[in-house]
């Protein structure tokens, strides 16, 4: 009876915060110290920055789907809302500092998310999943259709401004990477705090047993809408990073259903209801195609063109989703935890 939702959220919270603080500090040192020093521009530009943006989006979706149990297929819509909101805020309110812009853009995404979360009060499961598709199609349509959003670009393409905070500019690959890392670290830390609070417990309660939660006095309406709001806020901020720090030129078509699925796949593969899972899954999704293309080229040579790469990527990702759902619904994070536990046991028996 492995219910996907009964993932190990609580140990993730209670044990890794205490035991792995050292690891977290080490990771941050690595991220701020070593990587900018020795990493190449390619690494930061094409690997780490998209990884960070996707990880934050996955953290956002995990709040909604992993913790609060409301499946969404419309994540890309909120990425887009964040990106276009930040673009317009920057364009139309020239004096607005970037940080305020970032938070406001997240807020706008949250507002849109809450509107599309309203059906969750009456719908569950597939019906809700299908209704989140409405967000996906509507947002993409609106951004293409109404020129105002893209300052009257014919196909809705926007060019992001240079990231500038006070007198600091973050225009180099390193700068944009550091900006993303900082944003993601802060947003994730705040999310972790939220999830450890009563609100976080309420999310899981609504997911695990809605009726019992209601009887206890958990405000269902507020809890669900809050989950949609927080989730869309985080995904919106991730969208700003995606547009401003990573691609710098985006179009509505880039935020399509495949992107929504990608974010969903990140949390399934990484681990539902786990913040670490969001990061591990995002790392996997970013690194995996690179590895696959190297591997394919090495084995098949010139036969392995971009078309073949894309298709085999689809097949492997799809197969992995199925495999994880069957064999380890708690995702990569559970596999890693188990491996760590096994090595510890091995070491302690040796000594």
């Amino acid at each position: 009876m492995t219910v996907i939702t009964e993932t190990a959220s609580a140990p993730a919270r209670s044990t890794w915060l205490t035991a792995n603080v050292a690891g977290l500090v080490l990771l941050l040192l690595l991220g701020y110290g070593l990587v900018p020093l020795i990493g190449s521009d390619y690494l930061m530009d094409a690997v780490l920055t998209p990884f960070l943006a996707l990880a934050l989006a996955a953290v956002g979706l995990n709040v909604l789907t992993g913790y609060a149990g409301q499946v969404s297929l419309g994540s890309a819509a909120f990425l887009a809302v964040g990106a276009y909101a930040a673009y317009n805020l920057n364009l139309r309110l020239p004096g607005l500092p970037l940080l305020a812009n970032l938070v406001l853009a997240g807020g706008i995404a949250a507002a849109v998310g809450i509107v599309f979360g309203l059906p969750s009060l009456r719908l569950r499961g597939f019906y809700l999943a299908v209704s989140t598709l409405a967000a996906q199609f509507f947002v993409q349509w609106a951004l293409t259709k109404f020129g105002w959003f893209s300052n009257d670009n014919a196909s809705g393409v926007i060019d992001a401004p240079v990231i500038r905070i006070g007198s600091l500019t973050f225009s180099s690959a390193t700068g944009r990477y550091v900006f993303s890392l900082t944003t993601v670290a802060i947003a994730t830390a705040l999310t972790a705090r939220l999830l450890a609070s009563q609100t976080g417990r309420n999310f899981i309660a609504v997911r695990d047993h809605e009726v019992a939660a209601k009887v206890i006095g958990v405000p269902l309406l507020r809890t669900k809408l809050l989950a949609f709001g927080v989730s869309s806020f985080l995904i919106g901020v991730a969208g700003v990073l995606w547009a401003f720090a990573y691609l710098r030129t985006v179009e509505p078509a880039g935020f399509n259903l495949d992107r929504s699925f990608q974010i969903l796949f990140i949390i399934i593969i990484g681990g539902l209801a786990s913040l670490r899972g969001a990061f591990i899954g995002a790392a996997f999704i970013v690194v995996f195609p690179l590895l696959l293309s190297r591997l394919g080229a090495a084995v098949l040579g010139s036969l392995f063109d971009s078309g073949v790469l894309e298709m085999s990527q689809r097949i492997v990702i799809g197969a992995l989703i199925i495999a994880f759902l069957i064999a380890e619904p708690r995702g990569l994070v559970a596999l890693i935890d188990r491996a760590v536990a096994a090595t510890r046991r091995f070491r302690s028996t040796r000594s």
Partner: protein, 304 residues
């Protein structure tokens, strides 16, 4: 065999005419057993007045009256489909009765607002476990106080004095109940990974943590082993004695109900056919013939 007794409409009719009036008189006149105070209509913690409920054309409850006095343990028994669970669901607002009222103290409701239940001092458990499987035992218990958290989510994230104070109070209360029900050893385990009997105890802890005035238990002893049953019964009695909680429990394990309850109400086909102290229910040959033996045999199999 015994069932034949209750299929003839005549008998049901006879029982029905016997039950509501007399039982209530007995209830009002006699001091109840155990330590519960005298049942006094004015101070009833829970009162059902003339409740009827039907699904489609099927009547689940018919004209049910029930008074539960403060501090008593009241069992509601009856065979499968007698309407026991429906009764509890009406009391907790999950079903809306076709007619009648539910009273909590001085508040009367046509349909109990489920979301307000905790604020009215009412808690319940569920027949099939309703724990939050992904949360630890401690967090599950803490959830029983969710309605007390008045700080909004931003205050919780920031950790304002108000939010911190509420959290500390709630944690202390949760620790308290966990100690009371001897759950310290599994305090940090994920609830979904515990054996069934323990999960039942965790659910009891979650319901008790808010110190409810009225606790509704939906088949608390179904599917647990004999020793666990005795342990749980101890805890239920302890909850009444230490916390002063009034308890209404639905059960088909007659032995346990007889020892545990101050009063027993008997339901059949949605009607209350008897209501009185255990000794009286035990002595009532018709009730025993018609329900107790039968209910005990066929339900224990289905309970799991």
């Amino acid at each position: 065999m015994l069932l034949s007794g209750l299929t003839t409409p005549l008998d049901v009719l006879a029982l029905e005419t016997w039950a509501p009036g007399t039982a209530r008189q007995v209830l009002a006149a006699e001091p109840s057993g155990a330590s519960a105070p005298v049942a006094d209509g004015a101070r009833a913690v829970l009162r059902l007045a003339n409740i009827s409920l039907s699904f489609g054309g099927l009547a689940a409850l018919r004209d049910i009256d029930l008074d539960v006095a403060e501090g008593e343990i009241r069992a509601v028994i009856g065979p499968n489909g007698a309407g026991k669970s429906s009764l509890l669901n009406v009391v907790s607002g999950l079903y809306r009765p076709d007619q009648g009222e539910v009273w909590f103290g001085d508040h009367a409701f046509r349909q109990v607002p489920t979301a307000q239940l905790a604020r009215h001092g009412v808690a319940r458990t569920f027949q099939n476990l309703a724990l939050f499987k992904g949360l630890s035992v401690f967090d599950n218990v803490l959830m029983g106080l969710a309605h007390r958290v008045r700080a909004g989510f931003i205050r919780q994230v920031v950790g304002t004095p108000l939010a911190r104070r509420i959290e500390a109070e709630n944690r202390a209360a949760a620790e308290d109940v966990i100690g009371f029900l001897h759950l310290q050893e599994v305090r940090d385990r994920i609830a979904g990974t515990l054996p069934y009997g323990l999960q039942k105890r965790v659910e009891l802890a979650r319901a008790l943590v808010a110190r409810p005035r009225l606790l509704l238990l939906d088949e608390p002893f179904a599917g647990v082993t004999l020793s666990e049953k005795q342990e749980l019964a101890q805890h239920v009695r302890g909850a009444r004695d230490c916390y002063g909680t009034t308890i209404v429990l639905i059960e088909h394990d007659i032995g346990i109900v007889m020892d545990l309850s101050d009063h027993i109400a008997v339901l059949d086909y949605g009607r209350k056919i008897a209501d009185g102290p255990p000794a009286e229910i035990r002595a009532n040959q018709a009730v025993i013939d018609a329900y107790l033996g039968v209910a005990h045999e066929d339900e224990t199999e289905l309970a799991i």
